[in-house]
């Protein structure tokens, strides 16, 4: 078992030596499986080195958070990617072995051994049955499911006017805003993410769908913001480097629906800006969002800075995003007070946290 200090040092060394590890690991791959890799030529090797630099931050997060599952989840995704590219599982297994050996060679003072259990979690994932990434719009009997499917169809047909009309008409007919936001817009955006991940739609199409959904939500703002105020405030932001902001914005909107004053700072919020927002707005709760697990250090650093900016000790912090859903318990390593898997749960968790602060009578 490694200590927290050793894990931090290993993650830091991984970041420092990423380029060298990537080169070493790729050399090993080519040496061990020339029949797989040589055919891709010089350009193929360049891409292999680049991909290795993508893999390492996920391993780093797994190590620093002491969550082997973070890396296993990533390997599950790599398996799908390799299957799509026509590689067999042995190629992924060799890749992980090369990564392990390159790390052992590149990291000083036996730090490479610290990484081994986390890489082994990835190896174990390769032996497990292939994970199935099910559609988010499978029929679950919910009355809004057909509307969600129609909305997605309209998005995939480039028909943004029809998509907007579908949602706005439903709201005008009296369908609840929360239900529409959660069961139509949120579920469809998750499905759009899955379709992109499965290479069924292009990046441009994913951006288009997201933009239309943002536009639809903007049309709902006058209703969303019309709730009587409850005198509480939240600041919501995406962690530094995180560019996917729709989920976080929906969380902010849910707080508005619940009567909170919800300030949304947008995507890619630098740590300093997060702290400044806490000083300026003095929120009851700070919400930090990050989807990819390699943003974990940014989330942790942002929360630490925000806490330093709150001399009252009353600030409560929530985290959310795909990585925290995929790895239960990961949030506890961020310094946050809680985590929520969707916007509705975020409001409930925040209200419980704030009620607890008031109940404890934390000195202000």
């Amino acid at each position: 078992m490694s200590t927290a200090e050793e894990r931090r040092a290993t993650a830091a060394a991984l970041t420092l030596h990423t380029a060298r590890i990537a080169e070493l690991a790729t050399d090993l791959q080519y040496a061990r499986q020339p029949e797989v890799w040589e055919r891709y030529g010089v350009r193929g090797r360049e891409l292999s080195v680049r991909d290795m630099t993508y893999h390492l931050p996920f391993l780093g997060t797994a190590i620093v958070a002491d969550e082997p599952r973070v890396f296993a989840d990533y390997v599950a995704w790599i398996r799908h990617l390799f299957a799509r590219l026509g590689f067999e599982d042995p190629a992924a297994a060799v890749l992980l072995a090369c990564m392990r050996d390159a790390i052992a060679e590149a990291l000083p003072g036996g730090l490479g051994a610290v990484a081994v259990p986390y890489i082994e979690a990835g190896v174990a994932e390769l032996a497990a049955p292939l994970r199935r990434f099910a559609s988010f719009l499978e029929d679950d009997g919910h009355p809004l499911r057909p509307l969600a499917r129609l909305y997605l169809d309209a998005l995939l047909k480039n028909d943004r006017a029809a998509a907007r009309t579908l949602v706005l008409d439903a709201v005008a007919r009296g369908v609840g805003l929360r239900e529409v936001l959660l069961r139509v817009l949120q579920d469809v955006q998750r499905e759009v993410g899955r379709l992109w991940f499965s290479a069924e739609i292009s990046v441009a199409r994913e951006h288009y769908c997201t933009a239309v959904t943002q536009d639809v939500i903007a049309h709902l703002y006058p209703r969303i913001m019309d709730t009587p105020r409850v005198g509480r405030r939240i600041v919501v932001a995406c962690a530094a480097g995180e560019s996917h902001d729709l989920g976080a914005r929906m969380v902010a909107d849910f707080f508005e629906l619940a009567g909170w004053d919800a300030v949304f700072l947008g995507r890619d919020t630098p740590t300093a800006a997060l702290a400044e927002a806490v000083r300026e707005h003095r929120p009851d709760v700070l919400g930090v969002s990050a989807n990819m697990s390699f943003h974990f250090p940014a989330v942790r650093d942002g929360i630490a800075a925000a806490r330093r900016a709150d001399p009252t000790g009353r600030l409560r912090v929530l985290v959310g995003g795909y990585q925290f859903d995929a790895t239960p318990g990961l949030w506890t390593r961020t310094g946050a007070d809680g985590s929520a898997s969707d916007a509705d749960a975020a409001v409930a968790t925040a209200e419980a946290l704030v009620a607890a602060v008031r109940g404890q009578g934390v000195a202000s």
Binding site: H207, T210, A218, M225, D245, A252, D261, G266
Partner: protein
């Protein structure tokens, strides 16, 4: 033709066939073959899909907008069947007596632009969210302000009434016991207190109207008589200001209106005209029937209103807008309250100034069932 490198000679021919087949049937690259006169003699599936109607037989320059020369390369903006304009880089290759035109979009550039547009769209939506959020916060603050003003005015009204009552009592009851100085001082107290009472009434009116609680007590009344009563209430003001008020009121036809509110409007407009008239000046109050509509004009001989100030004349707390002269102690509420009252009657209140001074306020009240825009 240059031999393809790397591929064994045995594969060369089949590779060319497959590559050509892909280019002709399913590639996103546009391909046209032009004869020596520049007429299309063959085209790939992409070209057929891109342009409106058959491609073979048309002039290449009509399709791609530029006439080609061998080895030339240029950007072209192509209007497509779907209405979108696609930018492609055209390359012209000499086939010996014919020309191959290839057109290819820069996928890398498109991806970069698309990514940046998506980011800007997201930022714009975030700004929209902030604007809506702040507008709501401002609206809530506005409601709070109206409530505060209403409560403060309500609480001030009673003591003001008490002061006025006791001053009247002393002035009327003490009679000859008062010295001239005491009478003058008590008169000043009374005058200031009356002004304060009017300001408080304006605040209360404004608070009620802004809270959406203005209730009209409509009953059939002759607007001309109501205006006359309002103008009379300004007589003392006119006398002190040495201004003559002339009434030229045609008998109107009775219509449903809130007589006390319209009287208040008349008093406000006449009082405002007196205030901006020079000593010895004249204020003309005239009414006419224009069809079923009742029109009231109040004209003064004051300095007039700058055109830039006309737009904000009826906004609350725009002090000193009229004539550019700040009126110390006035909140400029009379005109905005008057406009709100006339609006509530479905009428209109406007103001105009001549190039050489003088201002006219025009009130129009609709006949039964009419509404004046």
């Amino acid at each position: 033709m240059t031999a393809l490198r790397r591929v064994p000679p045995s594969l060369d021919a089949v590779l060319r066939d497959v590559a050509f087949d892909h280019l002709w049937r399913s590639s996103s690259v546009l391909a046209l073959v032009l004869d020596a006169q520049g007429v299309v003699i063959d085209a790939n599936a992409r070209a057929e899909a891109l342009f409106d109607g058959p491609v073979v037989g048309r002039r290449g320059v009509d399709l791609v907008g530029v006439a080609g020369a061998a080895a030339r390369s240029t950007l072209a903006h192509l209007g497509t069947r779907g209405g979108a304009v696609e930018t492609v880089r055209l390359t012209f290759r000499d086939l010996g007596g014919a020309t191959l035109v290839l057109g290819e979009a820069d996928a890398g550039e498109l991806a970069r632009v698309e990514r940046d547009l998506a980011a800007m769209h997201a930022d714009l939506q975030n700004l929209t969210r902030e604007v809506v959020r702040k507008n709501r916060a401002l609206a809530r603050l506005g409601e709070l302000k109206s409530r505060f003003v209403g409560m403060a005015a309500h609480d001030l009204r009673k003591p003001t009434g008490v002061i006025l009552g006791y001053v009247d009592l002393v002035l009327d009851g003490a009679g000859a016991a008062l010295s001239d100085d005491q009478r003058r001082l008590l008169g000043a107290i009374r005058s200031s207190c009356s002004f304060m009472a009017r300001v408080i009434d304006d605040f209360l009116d404004l608070a009620v109207i802004e809270a959406g609680q203005l209730t009209l007590h409509l009953a059939p009344s002759d607007p001309g008589s109501v205006v006359r009563a309002g103008a009379r209430r300004a007589e003392e003001h006119a006398r002190r200001a040495d201004v003559t008020v002339s009434l030229d009121l045609e008998p109107g036809t009775a219509r449903r209106l809130d007589a006390s509110k319209i009287e208040q409007v008349a008093m406000n407009l006449v009082g405002n005209a007196i205030e901006h008239s020079p000593p010895g000046g004249r204020v003309v109050v005239a009414s006419r029937l224009e069809g079923a509509a009742f029109t009231l004009t109040v004209s003064d001989e004051g300095p007039g209103i700058d055109p830039d100030d006309l737009a904000r004349l009826f906004r609350p707390f725009e002090r000193g807008a009229h004539g550019g002269v700040a009126r110390v102690g006035s909140f400029g509420l009379g005109l905005s309250i008057s406009k709100m009252i006339i609006d509530a009657h479905g009428g209109s209140l406007d103001a105009a100034s001549g190039a050489h001074g003088g201002t006219v306020f025009v009130v129009r009240l609709p006949g039964a069932g009419e509404r004046i825009a």
